[in-house]
Symmetry: C2
C-alpha cells in the first residue's frame, strides 16, 4: 500500500521529468530545427541563434535523457532526434493551443458583433 503509493509517485516524477525536458523554448527550438535530419553543433548554433555553450549544454541534457543520439565524426558531433514521440507531444499541444485561440477568436467576433451589429 505504501509501496504502491511510492511507485506511483516515482512514475509521476518520471513523467514530470519527461515534460520538463520539453518545457524550455531553446530545447524545443533545437529539437524542431533538428527535425528528422542529422545536424552538428555548429549548424544548430547557426540555425537557432543561441550561444554555442548553451546549445551544447541543452544537447547534453537531451542526450542524457535519450531524446537524441550522438555520432562523432572527426571534429564535429552529429545529433539526431531518437524519440519521435517528442513531435507527437508537440502536435497535441499545438492543436490544443490552436482550438483555444480559435474559440477565443469566435468569442471576440461575437462580442464585436454584439457591440456593433452593422460593422463587418
Amino acid at each position: 500500500m505504501k509501496k504502491r503509493k511510492d511507485l506511483n509517485d516515482a512514475a509521476l516524477e518520471m513523467i514530470a521529468n519527461r515534460f520538463k525536458l520539453l518545457s524550455e523554448p531553446t530545447r524545443l527550438k533545437i529539437l524542431h530545427t533538428l527535425g528528422d535530419r542529422e545536424m552538428n553543433v555548429s549548424e544548430l548554433v547557426a540555425a537557432t541563434g543561441a550561444n554555442q555553450a548553451n546549445v551544447s549544454k541543452h544537447l547534453g541534457i537531451l542526450y542524457d535523457a535519450g531524446v537524441v543520439t550522438r555520432r562523432k565524426d572527426g571534429l564535429t558531433v552529429n545529433y539526431r532526434v531518437a524519440d519521435e514521440t517528442i513531435f507527437e507531444l508537440c502536435d497535441v499541444v499545438c492543436s490544443r493551443l490552436k482550438t483555444h485561440f480559435d474559440l477565443r477568436r469566435l468569442s471576440l467576433n461575437q462580442l464585436l458583433q454584439d457591440i456593433d451589429p452593422a460593422a463587418e
Copy 2:
C-alpha cells in the same frame, strides 16, 4: 522574415509553457487524482497528501492556464479538469517510458543469457 522568426519563437514559448505546467509531480498528481470527477480542495489535499496551501497554489496555476475549471459552492471550491488533452499527453509519455523499459529489460535478459546460457 524576422517577423516570422519572432512568431515562431513566441509559439515555441507558448508550447514550452504548456509543458512546464505538466513538469511538476505535484501538479500531475492533482490532475490524475481529479480524473474526470469534480473535487474540492480539501478532498485533493487528503488524496494527494500535499500541503493545503501548496495544493491551492497549484490549483491556481492550473486554473490560470485554463487546465481546470473552478466552481464555488458555499465554503468549498470544486475543481475539474477542463483540458482533456492533458491525459492524452501523459498517455503518450507513459507509452514511451513503458517501451523504453521493455527494451531495457529485453537487453538485460539478452545480456544475462549471453553470460550464462544455462540459467533461466
